[in-house]
Symmetry: C2
Subunit: 346 residues, 2 copies
């Protein structure tokens, strides 16, 4: 399903260096700061008067992705985007990435070329250079480990620990879509297992499936902040879910938070899927994860700037009660917010 | 064999953030350039007027290590050292690392603490800061992906492409020991499989086993170069084997090379093991790999400086015949040198 079956050259036909050459050749260098990319012991990055940002993410087959419903191009694209999202969440500009793969012999050269095609598309879209990596065999499955390097003016990085009492809590885009998309893909996978000839019409789920398979990093929001003069005091990207990220900001900033259910941005298609699956769309928005939207706090006096940005929703406020994280109900009442990242993985 | 059985807390008892906190708490920051380490979307590194070096390596269970004979502390130590070795091979100083793990539920919290204990020892020995990473579950086995960041004066990095005709070819330390150690460990593993109560005496193999399980990066050689004024024109670390690395330098520098078998530095214990196993010690020295020694070229006029450094052997010379890589025999005759990194992995 996810691999072009026309040609399938075994990886052993090329050897390590031949394979790396073949996979990395289509990548062009676009940043003046990239002095030396792929092909030496280490890459060289020039940096005068800037701070360097470094982030890394690892994706494992069977845990983070299922190749039955994940095209390899999309997987490569997403693996890059989730790292760039971390650099944007510091307010920085991603410049370079390294890509390491552990890959079993079930993958062909053509399959890895598809994966790298997705990686290249992400590099081109976000003006990022591939500068190195490591490609090795594994006994089972595929593991992708990417490290992204970014730049920011010295001292300008937006960390998680800067939220102040009274700050407004904002998110970009909408929430829960990636989780809703995943549920649809899982449902279709089960149908496919029972009846492999079924041809499901997934067009009415296109938005949420796209959110799951091909997320984008919010470079546009970071750029708009700079244009409008919005100055976030704390920021994080939403990978594990809104609840989890809220707790990171509050714990590191030593404060509490109050979120208003009625203010949570949820797309109509996410609502529809939630209804179909008999799930609560608020629960999905709070805990879904993988939306790669930005969660940030701003000084209350910037309410008007934020209010004029259509890509942003103000969803709550920072309080002076450390450890108290409250979701105010749409109609009445309130509940405690809790989260712990993954727990079920092991 | 490689894991303390006294306590075994399942990974699920802590959750992702609890686990990361527990594993990273014993690490202290030692570099002024580390502005922000573990705990945000990205780490922040300060850099004024320096070039930044970035390198990454991925180690997969069953391919790069066998936990039957690899203590987890040593594995963690080695996983760091192989990355630092790449930074030194550019002439740089490693400053920071990120560590990403994919780990199956067969590992306990205590096992990962042992792994991180080895990582911490390497960080402390080489004055390197742990600044981030990603810890996730896997369906099978253990994958360790480490990225190292280093610094060097702008434009001073020693690349693979700078070797000139007439340059002398040098290596640090001795060659083939890590491979010899691996063969002993594999042999003992087979004995152990047949008779688990056997208590082999491995003390007479201590040097080569140490070379395999706990290699060091040659920071000392880089420092001595600076002290003595030795200026390598091209440099690489020996991870895949001398032959393979020679070809990298020659291909990127557009030249040939002549190596003298009689000049290859081989430890006595490596010779003994080669004899025991009926293997040719020259073959082991040329292709063994994993020694993490430095291979470099120097201008011929620096022959005296190099000759006075006991940690260095001059083993050959760069020639003006691109594509011709020759090993001059100890007694007579010559053979072509060839290599391709791994080929058997897939």
């Amino acid at each position: 399903m996810s691999e072009n079956k026309k040609t399938a050259t075994p990886l052993s036909a090329l050897g390590e260096f031949g394979l790396i050459d073949k996979l990395t050749k289509p990548f062009k260098i676009s940043n003046p700061s990239t002095v030396k990319g792929v092909g030496d012991d280490a890459a060289i990055i020039k940096s005068e008067g800037k701070d360097i940002l470094v982030t890394t993410d690892l994706l494992a087959e069977g845990i983070h992705f299922d190749l039955v419903y994940t095209p390899l191009q999309h997987l490569g694209y997403k693996a890059v985007v989730v790292n760039l999202s971390d650099i944007y969440a510091m307010g920085g500009t991603p410049r370079q990435i390294t890509v390491s793969l552990a890959v079993s012999s079930k993958f062909s050269v053509e399959a890895l070329e598809q994966l790298y095609d997705g990686i290249r598309r992400a590099c081109e879209r976000y003006d990022v250079d591939l500068i190195g990596g490591d490609t090795t065999s594994s006994l089972t499955g595929l593991v992708i480990s990417i490290t992204a390097v970014g730049q920011i003016d010295s001292g300008a990085a937006v960390m998680r620990n800067g939220a102040k009492v009274g700050d407004l809590v904002c998110v970009s885009g909408d929430l829960g879509g990636a989780y809703a998309g995943l549920q649809i893909l899982k449902r279709e996978r089960e149908v496919y297992m029972v009846n492999p000839t079924s041809q499901p019409d997934l067009t009415k789920y296109d938005y949420v499936i796209g959110r799951q398979l091909k997320p984008e990093a919010r470079r546009d929001v970071i750029n708009r902040m700079k244009e409008t003069g919005l100055t976030p005091t704390a920021m994080i990207d939403i990978s594990d879910g809104l609840s989890s990220e809220l707790l990171h900001i509050c714990k590191q900033s030593g404060c509490g938070v109050k979120i208003y259910e009625s203010k949570l941005p949820v797309d109509e298609q996410t609502e529809t899927v939630a209804n179909e699956l008999h799930m609560d769309s608020t629960l999905i928005a709070m805990n879904g994860g993988e939306d790669y939207e930005l969660l940030f706090t701003i000084p209350a006096e910037q309410v008007e700037i934020a209010g004029n940005m259509p890509e942003i929703s103000i969803i709550g406020q920072i309080t002076n009660e450390p450890g108290v994280y409250t979701l105010m109900g749409r109609v009445a009442g309130s509940t405690r917010i809790s989260a712990q990242g993954w727990e079920s993985g092991f």
